[in-house]
Subunit: 147 residues, 2 copies
């Protein structure tokens, strides 16, 4: 079990990869983001994007999955606080293979409740060409190691 | 078709609702956020949360669906730019019914490319008790109305 003290600012970890296919892009978007260029092949080809692209929230969710599988698990999480500066930098298309760079930016023990603290982490998601497709940060509250 | 000029800062729209059940909470989390308190009923009951809660990204995605169904469709979108200040304020649990308040904060025509501009929108998601469970903003690039 990892506690607040087990996260160190400056730690950088790389993991993945995950290939995303057209069927799952369309399925996610039909459920959560049914804009034409996410769900309709012909409309997507006629759009600015020239073909189906993944919902930005799908790319975030796939990044979350790699983050949980490879880095953020078996810890003393008390709750997710939030995410900031989500930027979709390049469309993700069927067949793209995504991987992630995860950087611990800061850990901060709570002054008012010293049994816990926050961890601030930067996630950067790349496609198979090395281009960055997504960046964001997440902040979570973790319990400190019991005395 | 809605263009940049069809969005006005100050416009507030409310829509929904959408009830989320335990099976879909678990299915989303198995795919994208397989932490124990999202996917394992017994582990969730023993956790800080006292039962299954939705992945924060599931709540964001459900909010996106209501946004696209009710407000952000049939427009001249050139691309999503990003999202900011995602805050998960209260856990979403099986049976919760979510609704959304959507506020256009600002529209800004590009100085360098006046055929387009950005729209900045605040989304606030509430549960059936009126408590806010999630807030975030999104920024998208839209084409201006052709001359």
């Amino acid at each position: 079990m990892l506690y607040l003290e087990d996260f160190y600012s400056g730690t950088v970890t790389e993991f993945g990869s995950r290939t995303v296919d057209q069927d799952e892009i369309i399925a996610f978007a039909k459920a959560f983001d049914p804009q034409p260029f996410h769900v309709d092949i012909e409309a997507a080809e006629a759009s600015n994007f020239g073909g189906i692209i993944a919902s930005g929230w799908h790319t975030v969710s796939l990044t979350c999955r790699m983050f949980v599988d490879n880095f953020f698990n078996n810890n003393s999480l008390m709750g997710g606080i939030g995410a900031d500066e989500v930027r979709w930098l390049k469309p993700v298309r069927p067949g793209d293979t995504l991987s992630v760079r995860c950087s611990v930016l800061e850990t901060r023990r709570s002054k008012s409740k010293p049994d816990r603290g926050s961890v601030h982490i930067r996630l950067e998601t790349f496609d198979q060409t090395g281009d960055k497709v997504l960046t964001f940060t997440v902040t979570a509250m973790l319990r400190a190691r019991p005395a």
